[in-house]
Amino acid sequence: MNNLKKLFNQKNSGLLAVYFTAGYPEIDGTADTIVQLAKAGADIVEVGMPFSDPLADGPTIQQSSKKALEQGMSIGRLFGQLAGIRARTQVPLVLMGYLNPVLQFGLQRFCKQCREVGVDGLILPDMPLQWHEHNCKSLFEEYDLGSIFLVTPQTSGERIRQLDEASNGFLYAVSTSSTTGGNRGFGPEQQAYFQRLANMNLKNPVLAGFGISTHEDFSTVCRHLNGGVVGSAFIRSQEQGIAAREFIGNLRLPDVPNLSD
């Protein structure tokens, strides 16, 4: 069984997934960052595969992707960095990125290497559902890789069901109509959307992402859904030299402040 499924069998609330861009800030720091995040208490680590034209990303991930590529990052190099990661941590690992670099690497070769290094799931946001059905589904199954699809506040109920059906791992709820890294707090509208998803009794756990940067954001999504994904905020903390332990500690602050300490 892959590590994502193991995780969801053990835990279904307060799940924290942390995204960072592979090859950033240091090109060969990818494996160390994963290990630090796992030790600091991330439940899932999402490793971003940088692309030259990240359409769905805001300035933070645009910049980290650009820098990683300038430093020579590639999918081939990423697999090199991930070789041996399973001797260091069993944290569920998800690769996230745009479809084109994966296609140029070769879809089958990509899936095979994912399995070899111990990747558990894939988020390829610009992969169409129907295209996945025809070209990826059986390959992903063969290599025991979970497919993780996105839903948004604009996604119809019928399509949410389809995307949930096609997903195998978790469903990624994009919190607002925005690129990554935007937003300031979740208002009633977003909370209603989170609750609507929660009420659908979907097959997969639902983690919300995009615009989660504070303890308050994270606890809001956790009140409604199974957990949340933090990306741009973590990358900004890396740039400020904040340790993963401190970053995650701040996100997961107990709701009642501990005054004795």
Partner: protein, 402 residues
């Protein structure tokens, strides 16, 4: 799903994609879920809207009374003598706003109104599409935001001033090479952030399905008129060859459209070689690219072996793009059309030549198509139509008045 690669029907079906937006192996809608509802709304409604009687009537009226169509098909006598053949120029440069781009923006603004949208966004390279979009937004009283590469803002200053005078907000794209690709990225990001009230008027036959087909259909008025005008002038509806420049490929798609199924008509596209296809400073996508995904469609793409998009270069801001519309990729794939690289230098030479021989200053983009007359050879009795997609007022800086 119907196939569009059926050899029994020849190439006629290459004109339009299948239901999923594929022209043979190219096309589709590779968009993140954030864009899916926008694209799906358009996909499910565009054919019905643009096929409706009320849309057709209003579209054709505006093309006639506002854009100045039909544009002339001009027999270029001195150019014909120079190349010892019959050269006709399809005068899209005489359209209101100075290029063929207005055909598409008139159609799309009407479509946006049918969809109930009141905010318009667009990307632009040379600024021609930006001006054409700002123009129709002024006409319809809609808010207009145009994304333009910061480099292009500098090299196409007159068009920036025109857009602003027309009431558009011009937003510089400062990522990448700060050209058309980057402007398109920013426009798409805007659409992600504004999914309900905004229509994105893409300027070329690129982007996710249904844009390539939508834009090709709206631009097909070019070849529709050409057929009629050729019949009047030559007695035959079909020419020997059609030459057009290709960045994303909208004027070429429009000029080829009604001739794609006429196998006797040779179709030639001129892509921007920049300093030359082997110099690393080029935008010759078909010469150098391979299949890949950019801006929502699978087409030919200039990219590294790792699948990263290569920054293009061309003196012509309108052709400075690392991709090409999926229809063109399919026309190459099935051997129906030929695309040749034309360098900055060749384009400049052809622009000056047209100015001196015919008294017409072409846009730098269109000058690439004219340069094919030098590359190809035609017989004395052949009839060659060059799509003169735009006028050169905006390019006087590059032409230098020499």
């Amino acid at each position: 799903m119907k196939s569009n690669t059926d050899t029994a029907t020849g190439f006629s079906s290459l004109r339009n994609p299948d239901e999923a937006g594929f022209y043979g192996p190219f096309g589709g809608a590779f968009v993140p879920e954030m864009l899916y509802p926008n694209v799906e709304e358009l996909r499910s409604k565009y054919l019905e809207i643009i096929g409706s009687e009320s849309f057709r009537r209003e579209f054709l009226n505006l093309l006639h009374d506002y854009a100045g169509r039909p544009t002339p098909l001009y027999f270029a006598k001195r150019l014909s003598e120079k190349y010892n053949t019959h050269v006709y120029l399809k005068r899209e440069d005489l359209c209101h706003t100075g290029a063929h781009k207005i055909n598409n923006t008139i159609g799309q603004i009407l479509l946006a109104r049918h969809l109930g949208k009141h905010r318009i966004i667009a990307e632009t390279g040379a600024g021609q599409h930006g001006v054409a979009t700002a123009t129709v937004c002024a006409l319809m009283g809609m808010e207009c935001v145009v994304y333009m590469g910061a480099l292009d803002i500098r090299r196409q200053a007159p068009n920036v001033a025109r857009m602003r005078m027309l009431g558009a907000t011009v937003v510089p794209a400062t990522s990448g090479n700060q050209t058309l690709k980057d402007a398109t990225n920013e426009a798409i990001r805007d659409w992600i952030c504004n999914p309900t009230d905004t229509h994105y008027i893409i300027g070329s036959v690129v982007g996710p399905h249904p844009y390539p087909d939508l834009v090709a259909r709206l631009q097909s008025v070019i070849s529709e008129e050409m057929r009629r005008q050729l019949a009047e002038k030559t007695g035959r509806e079909t020419p020997t060859a059609i030459l057009a420049c290709v960045g994303g490929g909208s004027n070429a798609a429009g000029a080829f459209y009604h001739f794609i199924e006429e196998q006797g008509v040779k179709l030639y596209g001129a892509e921007a070689a920049g300093h030359g296809i082997h110099t690393g400073e080029t935008a010759a996508t078909i010469a150098l690219g391979k299949a890949g995904i950019l801006h929502g469609s699978l087409s030919m793409l200039m990219q590294t072996s790792d699948g990263q998009v290569v920054e293009p270069y061309s003196i012509s801001a309108g052709l400075d793009y690392p991709g090409v519309g999926p229809m063109h990729a399919a026309l190459v794939h099935f051997g129906r059309a030929t695309y040749l690289p034309v360098s900055d230098e060749q384009a400049l030479k052809s622009a000056h030549q047209l100015a001196r021989l015919e008294g017409i200053i072409p846009a730098l983009e269109s000058a690439h198509a004219l340069a094919l007359l030098e590359e190809l050879s035609f017989g004395k009795s052949d009839e060659v139509v060059v799509c003169l997609s735009g006028r050169g007022d905006k390019d006087m800086g590059a032409y230098g008045g020499s």
